[in-house]
Each structure stands twice: as C-alpha cells, then as structure tokens.
C-alpha cells in the first residue's frame, strides 16, 4: 500500500513516516520542493550552499534519506527542468540534519484540527464548505475552518 502526503523539510511528517514504516506502507512525498517555496527558505539556501548542492538537490536528497518516494510536478516544465534531477544522482552520503523549519501547512492543519477536536471525523464539517473537488478549494476550506476554530477558543 502507498500513502502519498505533503512532505518536505518544512512539513517533515515524522509521525506519519514512522506509522507507515511500521505498517509496511510506502510514503510518497508530494510538493518535495514546498511548491517552489524551498528556493526562498533561508535555512535551505544556507544548508545547500554549505554542502555545495542546489536547494532542489537538498530537498530531494532529504526525502531519499528517509527512504521515501518524491513526487514532483514541475511547473512550466521544460526539458532541462525535467532532466535536472539526473544531476542529483547518485545519493551516496547523508548530509542532512533534522529540520529546524516547521510551520503549519495543509497536512499539519488537518492534523492539528483532528487533534484539537479529539474526534477525527469532526473535520467532515469543514468539508461541507467544499463544493468542488479541487484541491485548492480543499486547502482553502481547511485553513478557513482552522481559523474559525481557533477564533472560537
């Protein structure tokens, strides 16, 4: 079985990775480059410079070191953009230390909501706001519901 989740240095999902490993589930990582935001994160830029690799190489390598499968959707894909990943292979050494970056992203928001409300299925309430299947809308709903929830307390 596979579980594909949003996973990158900013959303390391350590509990989920451990859970999946324990249950023989392969974790795939969507948005391994934080949807392009990785190139703006100072810690990632500094770390990449320190090890003489690109930010993209660093993020992909970080995922491989966790024995996960990155799933990257290049935007405006050109041949050079598509083939750039080959300069990242092989990945022989471990260079990455534990991520210091951690801010809420979609997955974390879902997790926080279901923890905060203790009942997992409560987050179906926020789904009622989703009128379309679009992921973007789902994200928007999750964040709106979260904000509404935290305002209430």
């Amino acid at each position: 079985m596979i579980n594909q989740v949003q996973l990158h240095p900013q959303n390391p999902q350590e509990e989920m990775i451990a859970y999946c490993k324990q249950n023989h589930i392969l974790t795939e990582a969507w948005s391994p480059l934080i949807q392009g935001q990785a190139f703006k994160r100072e810690l990632l830029i500094e770390t990449a410079e320190k090890y003489g690799v690109s930010v993209a190489q660093l993020c992909i390598r970080w995922i491989f070191q966790k024995a996960l499968c990155p799933c990257r959707s290049p935007q405006h894909p050109s041949e050079s953009k598509i083939t750039r990943i080959f300069s990242d292979f092989p990945f022989p050494t471990r260079i990455w230390k534990k991520s210091r970056l951690c801010v809420p992203t979609a997955q974390l928001a879902i997790r926080r909501m279901s923890h905060a409300r203790t009942r997992l299925w409560d987050f179906k309430k926020m789904n009622s706001k989703c009128t379309r299947m679009s992921e973007i809308l789902c994200f928007a709903c999750i964040f709106c519901a979260e904000i509404a929830f935290f305002r209430r307390i």
Binding site: W30, C71, K125
Partner: protein
C-alpha cells in the same frame, strides 16, 4: 538510490520506481509533451489524478514516450466526489479509459474528504476501499493506496480490510 529507475518494494512485491513524475496543474498538451520527455529521459513512475483533468494528455505522453507499458509505473487517484463502491469502480474505469490503459500500477484515494454526505465519511471510505480491493483482485490495479490520509484514516481501513499494507 543510484538511479531514477531504482525501486522501492511494496509489501505485495510490486516495485515502485523511486522518483515520481508529477503532473499536477499541467493541461493536457503540456502533460503530453512533458510526460513523453520525462519517460524518454528515464522516468518510469508517472503520477496523475482524475482531478488534474489531464489523464488523456498523460496517456498520450505515455504512448509517445516509447517505453513498454510494463516498464512504467502509472498512478492515478480517485476524486473526492467519487467515494462509494459503485462510483469508485466507475471513476477507476474512467481513469483507465482516459489514460488508454487496461490496468494501473497504483490507484490512490486522493483525499479522505467527501464532497457530499459528509456524515457518512467512515462508511464511504470503507465502501471505496471495498471497491479498490475488488479492482485489485480483478487485476485492474497492481497496488492500491491513499493520499493525504492521517493515521486514524488508515487505522479505519486496517480495522475493516485485508489489504492495508
């Protein structure tokens, strides 16, 4: 991992090439050319979804890529408004048709989220997974999975089904 074609193994022995080529936000024409380019350059794992509305383009790109079907690992996903047994079977058939293939290497539940009948999330997830197991048994899917699931969602499947690893 020494090459983009090195694989992870799933519990059922199916090999998954270690890097997926994602196609989110690519319109059909872009998906077609970039998937073909990706395959010609060594990618073997292609990831799409019915919700991306580009499966036809991805399918065309796969054919253009010129690599035998069995060397590829093709993944699609069930959209949020297709939960439930019958609907899931129909959605999978639609993906197969769009992609122009007779099996998928993996089919995932895109989100643990329903568009309608939110009160039936647990039942619907179970009905959907029942359909996934059926499609898997029928040989239409080589592996099944989920996307954006939390531990509790997977626990729900574990409590009710055989194929959860």
């Amino acid at each position: 991992m020494n090459s983009i074609q090195d694989c992870y193994s799933l519990y059922n022995g199916v090999n998954v090439p270690c890097v997926a080529f994602g196609t989110w936000k690519m319109p059909d024409a872009v998906a077609e050319s970039s998937v073909a380019c990706a395959i010609q350059n060594g990618y073997r794992h292609i990831d799409t979804a019915l919700a991306y509305q580009n499966e036809c383009g991805v399918g065309a790109g796969v054919r253009k890529g010129g690599v035998r079907r069995e060397e590829l690992f093709l993944v699609s996903k069930l959209p949020n408004d297709f939960h439930g047994y019958e609907k899931a079977i129909a959605a999978c058939e639609r993906s197969l048709q769009n992609l122009g293939v007779d099996y998928l290497d993996a089919y995932l539940i895109h989100w643990p989220v329903l568009v309608e009948n939110q009160d039936h999330l647990e039942e619907d997830l179970c009905d959907t997974w029942r359909a996934f197991e059926r499609l898997y048994a029928d040989g239409k899917l080589r592996a099944i999975g989920t996307s954006n699931f939390l531990e509790a969602h997977i626990d729900l499947l574990k409590a009710n089904f055989k194929i959860t690893r």
